[in-house]
């Protein structure tokens, strides 16, 4: 081994110059870059056209709050899609987790079950409610993962099934009615409060995004998520416990739905049984828009952040400009198709060498 270090290292293996490496790193992090440029462009255009309304601190913080819950859901979804799966159940899991945690908090608060409004439950009760939501989300995710790995049912079907089951179970728990009594502290301090002018919901989403980015891009768990999504069989032969990895990834997506559940009840001061039917499509679009490949093995948290922000900025800008908001739906569909098309072109170009 000693004489090997003295051998000349081939040019191609010498450290590449910093410029290339920085560019490669950027393109890896923001999923090709063009989608990031699109977001900057949208923000610039709207800011220039309607500086007073669009760029106002109030509007920007509303934008961020609107993005916060979707961002949290999209973080878990990014892991699932990078691992080559898909999770359609996130919206229903969010609803189930919020119902369960709201019921737990209501029961613990000592208020009568038909309370309408807020309860005066303390932080201890809120903490128990939060843990309930996170645990219930993670449990649904683990069920998804177990069915995908051990029953070998395609993830599209498994999560379509649990989408129905989680929503139905939530309705069974409450007879189809929303729980409308939540701790006052949760609603006002977390849902409506801010720290240093930054809404608490946004802070939670930002912290979650930073943690998710560290987990995906810097740890062995993240690297193995990419490996499993890139080539499951190769990962298995290399000794990676593939099933465990996939189960953990789905549990993570469920966990993020559980966190979204707390944020949602805190923000709206009620559970929202009917309000999350489209969450899965919004979230999957955002993740794919952010450069994560539906075929697995490619993706980034930074891209997902951009992918979440684009539809929200677009809708907000259209409303401010007086363009009928229906155009946002049309535009988003087109942008999504464009994003996947560009991903395919890049992939084909690369595979040709």
């Amino acid at each position: 081994m000693d004489d090997l270090t003295s051998r000349p290292v081939p040019d191609a293996l010498a450290p590449p110059d910093e410029r290339t490496s920085l560019r490669e790193r950027w393109s890896g992090w923001i999923g090709g870059g063009w989608i990031f440029a699109l977001l900057i462009l949208l923000v610039l255009v709207f800011s220039l056209l309607r500086p007073a309304q669009f760029a106002s601190p109030y509007n920007l913080s509303m934008l961020a709050i609107n993005a916060a819950i979707f961002l949290v859901l999209s973080l878990g979804q990014t892991f699932v899609i990078v691992a080559g799966g898909i999770d359609l159940s996130v919206g229903s899991v969010l609803v189930f987790s919020s119902i369960l945690s709201a019921q737990v908090m209501l029961a613990l608060s000592g208020a009568p079950a038909d309370t309408y409004g807020t309860t005066n439950a303390g932080w201890g009760v809120i903490l128990i409610g939060a843990v309930t939501a996170l645990a219930s989300g993670a449990a649904w995710g683990a069920v998804n993962g177990l069915l995908v790995t051990f029953a070998r049912i395609p993830p599209l079907i498994v999560t379509l099934g649990t989408l129905g089951m989680a929503l139905g179970a939530a309705q069974i728990l409450t007879n189809g009615l929303d729980v409308r009594a939540l701790p006052d502290l949760l609603v006002n301090v977390i849902g409506g409060g801010s720290i240093a002018h930054i809404p608490v919901l946004v802070l939670i989403a930002v912290i979650a995004a930073v943690l998710a980015a560290i987990l995906l891009h810097l740890t062995r768990f993240g690297l193995r998520t990419f490996a499993v999504g890139s080539n499951t069989e190769a990962s298995r032969r290399a000794g990676i416990p593939v099933r465990g990895q996939i189960i953990k990834v789905y549990a993570l997506s469920g966990l993020s739905a559980g966190l979204g559940a707390i944020m949602s009840t805190a923000r709206f001061s009620t559970t929202t049984i009917g309000g999350h039917a489209m969450d899965n499509l919004t979230v999957i679009s955002a993740v794919v828009l952010g450069g994560t490949s539906l075929f697995g093995g490619i993706g980034s948290i930074a891209g997902t952040v951009v992918g979440v922000l684009i539809p929200i900025v677009l809708l907000n800008g259209f409303v401010i400009l007086g363009i009928p908001p229906f155009w946002q739906t049309v535009t988003m569909g087109a942008v999504l198709i464009l994003a996947v098309w560009i991903d395919q072109l890049k992939r084909r170009a690369r595979d040709r060498g």
Binding site: L4, T5, R7, P8, V9, P10, A12, L13, P16, S21, E24, L218, T219, R220, F221, L223, R224, F226, A227, G229, S230, N231, E233, A234, S235, R237, A238, G239, I240, S293, G296, G297, I298, R350, D351, G353
Partner: protein, 257 residues
Amino acid sequence: MSNSPLLQAKGIRRRFGHVQALDGADFTVHAGEICALIGDNGAGKSTLVKILSGSDQPNEGEILLDGQRVTFSSPTAAQAQGIATVYQDLALAPELPPSENLFLGREILRPGLLGRLGFVDRAAMRREAALQFARLGVRLRSAKIPVAALSGGQKQSVAIARAARWASKVVFLDEPTAALGVVQTQRVLDLIRQVRDQGLGVVLISHNMSHVLEVADRVEVLRLGRRVAQMSARDATVERLVAAMTGGVSQPEPAHG
């Protein structure tokens, strides 16, 4: 070439239903040699390789590694004893760079607390990978691009370099030159010699007689589940090999003990 065999199979029998895939097959490979395992389709090559690399278990017969009797219950068990296999599908993760493929499932973690938290050390993996590639004379366009962007020969080289990195004893190569062009084939054959020169036993499974004659030190021929010939590559010609494979001429089996 040392005299005592590194890996030896004796009287391996394997039956699938009514098909006797291996009918008392023998096989030997020494450290620091390239041994080609050839045979017509259905001769039992794949079955023998699967058994010797832990993917399948024999009904009868014994396997000796360094003279010790061993059983491989799984590919992982064989790997743990220093035997690696490169199948034709290569088992690479196309979206990951060569270094991360080299360390797939055996990632290098950061030192200290970060490592215990599961943080990977990509720089160390790249350094180690560059050393391994340099040691084996593998030249890649870039150490950072995903494996999917490499040529077929370079992908093959990454897979072989990975096997050589983790095998301490024997590397099985299943048709490593099957889909490659002329230049790429030469590079892969050079790489196979480099792996041998590291002191490993290399078993080359190939249909291509000219590649076999070019690179192998020794050739063993399987026919109908038995070893029907073994010869030094110097003595071998395409005609002799084909004759042995097809049963035109059978060379008497030397007694083994």
